[in-house]
């Protein structure tokens, strides 16, 4: 009885605020304030995995970048590669800009939004755009001619004229080839790769980020190379994934006892490009492994990355030769 009276009183009182519960359909994924993959890899991958998990559940997501005060190009490209999956599968998503103006400008200049919203179709191929300083491209084939254009422009940024940088071309081809062959469970279903090239004229260098959001190096090995995988899972003999990758990069583990003789040589060749001063500042992130190849730092990630990311730079003291027309 008392309760009924209370309800009637409440219904009569204009000042009683009825709380309206806004039931959001989307999940808010908050990016870490330091959204720099090279400096803050665990937090960035934790965030990316949350978003990826929502993609797999086909949940709507709101990407909250409001509090981000620091961002780097690897993080931008990984985020683009994840969000493109939402777009391609027509799962609704939204987000906000960072409050920090510098970070906001960097994100816009990277053409992140352009590529996320303006591609003509999910399967768009060969969409090479030139920003003031950045190229982005998604494709599924190995395109050696693309490397020539990138090399011409990168070398002009650094040396004020085109120069041949063979290590750069080798790395690009190896990475495209790896995606083409390894990144999908089913080799008929090719994964996209993403390449971001940042021309940092102020520091006389060009930075490259290559991402494929496929299975990662170790999952590809496990799925495709059963014979090798049986060897690699002998943890007593080979150690952790980080130790295995170190040995692959340094040619200690030779992945040659498969029916496809070339497997594994590409990773070793990329490391050689660094050793021979053809490229600089190489980082690799794949599955639960993080590599800073310059400092020979091979560590295990607590937050795995299901794809593969390579970052490297071309600097003025890297090997280069005359560009002949």
């Amino acid at each position: 009885m008392r309760l009924k009276m209370l309800h009637r009183i409440m219904q009569g009182k204009d000042r009683v605020e009825r709380r309206q519960v806004h039931r959001r359909k989307d999940f808010i994924a908050r990016a870490p304030a330091d959204f720099s993959l090279l400096q803050n890899k665990e937090a960035v991958f934790r965030f990316i995995n949350i978003v990826d998990g929502l993609y797999k559940k086909e949940r709507e997501v709101f990407i909250d970048l409001k509090s981000v005060h620091s961002i780097d190009y690897p993080a931008i490209l990984v985020l683009l590669s994840v969000m493109a999956r939402f777009r391609d599968k027509k799962i609704r998503f939204n987000g906000n800009y960072p409050d920090n103006q510098e970070v906001k400008d960097k994100l816009i200049e990277s053409r992140f939004f352009h590529h996320l919203f303006n591609l003509s179709s999910p399967a768009s191929i060969g969409d090479l755009k030139v920003n003031n300083h950045i190229y982005t491209k998604t494709d599924v084939e190995v395109d050696p001619v693309l490397g020539e254009q990138i090399m011409r422009e990168a070398s002009t940024t650094i040396w004020n004229k085109p120069r041949i940088c063979k290590g750069l071309q080798t790395v690009l081809i190896e990475l495209m080839h790896n995606t083409n062959n390894h990144a999908a469970n089913n080799t008929d279903d090719k994964e996209k790769w993403y390449l971001l090239v940042n021309h940092d004229a102020d520091n006389n260098k060009v930075c490259f980020v290559f991402v494929d959001y496929g299975q990662g190096i170790f999952e590809s090995l496990r799925v495709n190379w059963e014979t090798i995988w049986k060897r690699l899972t002998k943890r007593i003999e080979y150690g952790t994934n980080s130790k295995i990758l170190e040995d692959i990069l340094n040619g200690i583990i030779k992945l040659t006892d498969t029916k496809q003789p070339n497997r594994g040589k590409g990773l070793k060749r990329i490391k050689k490009a660094l050793d021979w001063n053809q490229i600089s500042n190489l980082y690799i992130f794949s599955n639960d492994v993080s590599v800073n190849a310059c400092s020979a730092d091979y560590t295990q990630l607590k937050n795995s990355f299901s794809g593969t990311l390579f970052y490297w730079e071309l600097q003025c003291d890297n090997l280069n030769t005359v560009w002949e027309a």
Partner: protein
């Protein structure tokens, strides 16, 4: 004994690509089928050396070299290939050893 000389950059492409034709343009497989194997046949017929000049390109992927030269060794006996083939690579001298390795490992030996 004379030589037959072919140049990847002048005769095929300045931008060699991936390994197989299905993987993209200017592949090692394409180079093998259109240039390397025919030139090798001519070299065998004329009992002369086949010189392959790797200089002048903007860079190689490992799959290109493996499909081209490893592919050659999968068509012809390994020793025949090693006796007939000579690799010129002043710009990237390490490629000479790489190609030899691909030939030796082509059939899993």
């Amino acid at each position: 004994m004379g030589s037959i000389i072919i140049s990847v950059s002048k005769d095929f492409s300045r931008t060699p690509g991936a390994g197989k034709r299905s993987e993209g343009s200017f592949s090692g497989q394409e180079f093998l089928e259109t240039h390397l194997a025919p030139a090798f046949e001519r070299a065998l017929k004329n009992s002369c050396e086949l010189v392959v000049n790797l200089d002048g390109t903007i860079g190689y992927g490992t799959a290109f070299l493996e499909q081209a030269f490893g592919g050659l060794a999968r068509k012809y006996p390994e020793l025949t290939v090693l006796d007939t083939l000579k690799i010129l690579s002043d710009e990237e001298p390490y490629l000479v050893d790489d190609v030899t390795t691909y030939v030796r490992e082509a059939t899993g030996s």
